[in-house]
């Protein structure tokens, strides 16, 4: 294992992601943050991608390895900044604990099972077939 290759890849990814105005670390609390930062995940991705390239046999223990490592770092930084969020977007889920702990029927868009349909709902249900029949008649005409 050539440690210098990993250091070059990680270092170049870190520096370029900082130049691309990614924060060094996510905001607190870090463990619940979706912010993409220079250390996490950019540096981790650079390490992993370098390991992939090494195991695929593209590193040949020559000076070209350093150029490949530099390229991995640059590509990883651009990937983390511009592409990662498009491939794996943030999920649209409630952040508040109270929302997570609500019963399913209380979540927005889900009517309570015990609720009887209101008069207006009944009217709308009844009127729907009429509307469709009217529109069918109109289309026939």
């Amino acid at each position: 294992m050539n440690y210098i290759v990993y250091i070059i890849a990680t270092g170049s990814a870190l520096i370029l992601s900082l130049l691309l105005k990614q924060p060094l670390l996510p905001e607190e609390p870090k463990r619940q943050s979706w912010t993409l930062s220079a250390i996490f995940p950019t540096a981790v991705l650079a390490l992993g991608f370098t390991a992939m390239i090494a195991k695929l046999g593209y590193l040949t223990s020559s000076y070209t390895d350093y150029i490949i490592a530099l390229a991995i770092g640059v590509i990883t930084a651009f990937f983390s900044k511009f592409i990662l969020e498009k491939i794996l977007p943030r999920p649209a889920m409630p952040d508040e604990v109270s929302e997570i702990n609500q019963p399913i029927e209380k979540l927005p868009g889900n009517p309570k099972p015990s609720e009887k349909p209101s008069e207006s709902d009944k009217v709308s249900e009844v009127s729907k077939p009429d509307m469709s029949s009217k529109s069918q008649e109109e289309s026939h005409e």
């Binding site: 463990r31 979706w34 981790v44 991705l45 390490l47 992993g48 390991a51 195991k55 794996l88």
Partner: protein, 167 residues
């Protein structure tokens, strides 16, 4: 090293690695997704601890440090140390994103166990021992008896200041 002793040591190391990282990352604090909430409350109903239940629910619902530990061990066994562990860390990160999880616990667990495996190789512990050890470690948490294991996880969460405030 004797294989059985090696597996036993690897199981203890893996158990500490994933439980401490997951607790530090706040898995007992809140359910990340609806499924973790359901599992946590079900374990509490059966006499367990709610924070420990959330921990176990979060483990089931997204790749956390236990998955990271196991996958990094498998990676080191199949590909080599440390490349396999580093590749596993990237794959766990993508898995976390797919499972709507910010992704620190799984990736951190994969990276720490990769360092541990690299260090432990000097005393004769192999990645294969860590694979078996991790299976034993996760079996003690998820496979034996949920009420007791959740209470233990809850006590660890209390000591590390990560106990849930949800009732």
């Amino acid at each position: 090293m004797n294989e059985l002793i090696g597996i036993l040591i690897a199981a203890v190391i893996s158990w500490l690695n994933f439980v401490l990282i997951d607790t530090w990352m706040g898995l007992p604090e809140r359910p990340g997704v609806k499924g973790a909430d359901v599992i946590g409350r079900d374990i509490k109903k059966r006499g367990g601890d709610l924070a420990g239940g959330f921990f176990q629910g979060n483990i089931v619902c997204s790749p956390d440090a236990s998955a990271g530990t196991l996958l990094a061990s498998v990676g080191c066994f199949a590909i080599g140390t440390p490349e396999g562990g580093l590749i596993a860390a990237v794959l766990v990160y993508f898995g976390n994103r797919l499972c709507a999880d910010p992704g620190y616990a799984g990736t951190s667990g994969a990276l720490t166990i990769t360092v541990i495996i690299a260090g432990a190789s000097f005393i004769g512990l192999t990645p294969a021992m860590f694979i078996v050890g991790m299976l034993i470690a996760i079996f003690t948490i998820q496979g034996l008896y949920h009420p007791v294991s959740s209470k233990l996880l809850g006590k660890i969460a209390q000591k590390m200041g990560r106990y849930t405030e949800i009732q």
